[in-house]
């Protein structure tokens, strides 16, 4: 990530305080300045930031921050808690109608990810809710928009209803609902054309479609990279349509995603899903507390662990989590992880989500192709179990033996050991302090 997280930001203030051994009101003020900057850098709207910082400051002054031995951590704890509760506390599910069909309408600016998310939702509802979805091609304006939806439908094997691009979206919606009834399809997902929130004619069209289709879920799709304008967009769409949910897309990028907070504060509507890939399975539930740490630049460890969980059996996973926490992770664990990684998809994507991962030199250049993993595994397999637990024992002659055994070069072995070391250091950093606080995020990834 391009910017410092709140942890790093608070570090210099903390160093100053350390010398004095006492926290004053003006220290708190200084820390609040850092909180403010961290949020602004994360693209949280400045008005939202202002309100937020005022609230946090009040809480900080009225709490034990000033008497605490670790005021920095206390501030972060408060900030994180406030952020989480502002974003809704818990994940909220999609609205499904008791009597079919459930109607979902996708709305948003151009290029936000409506069509892709429509496909993802269809797949999600069929897989997790046993629904029989119908995708409706309501974008008659953008070139090849219908084509795009039809291709998406084919990819996930979901029927697509289209009347071409010469029929008004209002009529398409009407006919689509009839069609769904005839075909006994219980979920209707209407894709609409991207439009500017200030385009009155097109916004009215949305209102008409809403009136006709009476949707259970009006999903505002927003690009997570959106800057300060997010408040205007969300406010306009919400005012006119009374949206019921938000999906934040493209969170597989390296944006902090402060728009999440902005949208939530101006609409009070829940963010329900996040998009994390261009592929149809790239839809995940939104978790406020994870988003909070992401906005604060503290990585998204839980998401990494969850992603792993999808592919790993639960007991193994628990053991791994524990090892990550007490940093007893060994080369042997690394070895068995690799097997799972092979089934999990690109490791570099995963690693990049980790806090502090951007600080490991060369990580961005590292390629984790299947072949590389094979090589690394060969190296580790040529070590004794004792060596796997205590790599510091590997002297020159042992390394030579391993090189012979694995058919890899000495440099490769040294590189692996170095990278493993860096990784362990990073894990230690991101989990240190975890045992102390009740808050699962307390002190996570913090250098103090």
């Amino acid at each position: 990530m391009a910017f410092e997280g709140l942890g790093e930001r608070l570090q210099s203030t903390m160093d100053r305080i350390k010398g004095k051994g006492k926290v004053t009101e003006s220290d708190v003020k200084l820390m609040m300045r850092e909180v403010r900057l961290a949020l602004l850098e994360a693209d949280v709207n400045f008005k939202v930031v202002k309100q937020f910082v005022n609230d946090v400051k009040e809480r900080a002054l009225g709490s034990d921050v000033m008497t605490s031995l670790t005021p920095g951590q206390q501030v972060i704890k408060i900030v994180q808690e406030e952020l989480t509760s502002l974003m809704g506390g818990e994940n909220q599910k999609i609205n499904l109608s008791q009597k079919p069909p459930t109607v979902i309408m996708m709305v948003g600016l151009q290029g936000a990810g409506k069509t892709t998310t429509a496909g993802k939702l269809a797949l999600h509802l069929r897989k997790k809710h046993n629904k029989r979805p119908l995708l409706v091609a309501g974008d008659i304006y953008r070139p090849a928009a219908i084509d795009q939806l039809e291709t998406v439908g084919k990819q996930i094997d979901v029927p697509v209803f289209s009347l071409g691009d010469q029929v008004k979206p209002e009529e398409i919606a009407t006919k689509a609902l009839e069609h769904a009834k005839e075909e006994h399809l219980d979920t209707v997902i209407i894709d609409t054309a991207g439009r500017l929130h200030i385009d009155e004619a097109l916004m009215n069209e949305l209102k008409n479609v809403k009136d006709i289709a009476d949707p259970d879920e009006i999903m505002l799709v927003v690009d997570s990279m959106t800057g300060q304008d997010a408040v205007n967009v969300a406010e306009s769409f919400n005012e006119l349509l009374n949206i019921t949910g938000v999906t934040l897309t493209k969170l597989d990028g390296d944006t902090r995603g402060g728009a999440a907070l902005s949208i939530r504060s101006v609409t009070q509507k829940p963010i329900k899903f996040i998009g994390v890939s261009e592929k149809m399975d790239g839809l995940e539930a939104f978790h406020p507390e994870r988003m909070a740490s992401r906005i604060l630049g503290m990585g998204d460890v839980l998401s990494i662990i969850e992603k792993a969980q999808d592919n790993v059996n639960e007991d193994e996973q628990k053991a791994l989590e524990k090892k990550l926490k007490d940093s007893s992770f060994t080369l042997d664990d690394f070895l068995s992880q690799m097997d799972q990684v092979k089934t999990m998809g690109p490791l570099d994507d995963l690693l990049k989500m980790m806090p502090g991962a951007n600080k490991i030199k060369g990580l961005d250049k590292m390629q984790f192709s299947g072949k590389e993993i094979d090589h690394v595994q060969a190296i580790i397999r040529s070590m004794t179990l004792d060596e796997r637990e205590h790599p510091e024992k590997l002297n020159a002659s042992r390394k030579k033996r391993i090189a012979k055994g694995s058919g890899r070069s000495l440099q490769e072995i040294n590189r692996l050991l170095k990278q493993f070391n860096d990784m362990k250091k990073m894990m230690k950093q991101m989990t240190s302090g975890k045992k102390k606080g009740k808050n699962p995020f307390g002190g996570m990834g913090l250098p103090f």
Partner: protein
Amino acid sequence: MGIFDRFKRKKKIQEEKPASLEAQTDKLDDGLISIDEFEEWEQDQLSYKFEQGLKKSRDKFQQDINALMSRYRTVDEDFFEALEEVLISADVGFNTVMELTEELRKEAQLKNITETSELRETIVEKMVEIYERNGDASDEMTINEDGLTVVLMVGVNGVGKTTSIGKLAHKYTQEGKKVMLAAGDTFRAGAINQLQVWGDRVGVDVIKQAEGSDPAAVMYDAVNAAKKRGADILFCDTAGRLQNKGNLMNELSKIKKVIQKVVPEAPHEVLLVLDATTGQNALSQAKAFKEVTDVSGIILSKLDGTAKGGIVLAIKNELGIPVKFVGLGEQLDDLQPFDAENYVYGLFADMIQESDTLEEKLEEDKDDK
């Protein structure tokens, strides 16, 4: 003085401009205007749509900054903090805002400025200066006059690459160039057809292969075909990709290499499309795409919304990449060349006007006494 005066002069010219386009054409038909006047007129025509597009975002910005000035009359820390916020709300990069306010603080101290109204001109000046400071990269398209020009379009998902190609194809076809398009987005559903529709609209050839094929292979074909058919400009569409995806970014450098196999000095232009709605992440995008493809210019799309795209100031300042075009809508002719002065002027026009009327009012008040 200086820039500020130029703005004022521009404003005057603008005011003299007749309201309707027909009226202007009549004026032209009289045969009474000089070449200079004609050029001025032509310039105004160009900036007309641009100004319109910017007007909405400008209005909001003006309100903010005027409110700021009236709320904070004296230059103090509160004022600077509020000014930072105004600039940040325009998505001007964070570091740039800091740089700007830091310089203003110094300037205020140096010149002993205590009233915010006296600082107003300096703010405008500094913003233009920040844009122009880092390098003098051309804001014109590089066109290879004797031979094929290859233009590579890059950017993250959904920013407007394909649409911008349609607009550019239209522009250069109208200027008499033979244009061709390469359907390099073989990944996103319907992307090839989308480009084909634009090709049909403009009436130019689109070189394409099946969805899912190797984009580098498409480019190789396309550059060869463009050479063979004697095209002047080939616009290469690519799939959107997030800048933190190593493998996809590598694919871009591969595409570039393949193009160079056929035309060693190509691509003559690598245009990064940025969505004006994007916040601070645009800087990270510009950095990453510059690293792999040596981006030579930016197209700032979707300026017809309420977003201001102020991050381009930061990008120019920190990376030296100039904006070459702005996108102002979804139609063929919704593309305008970028003009830094116009852009900043656009952001501040009303504010300047406001200050003029304010000054006049103050004068009147004085006279009354």
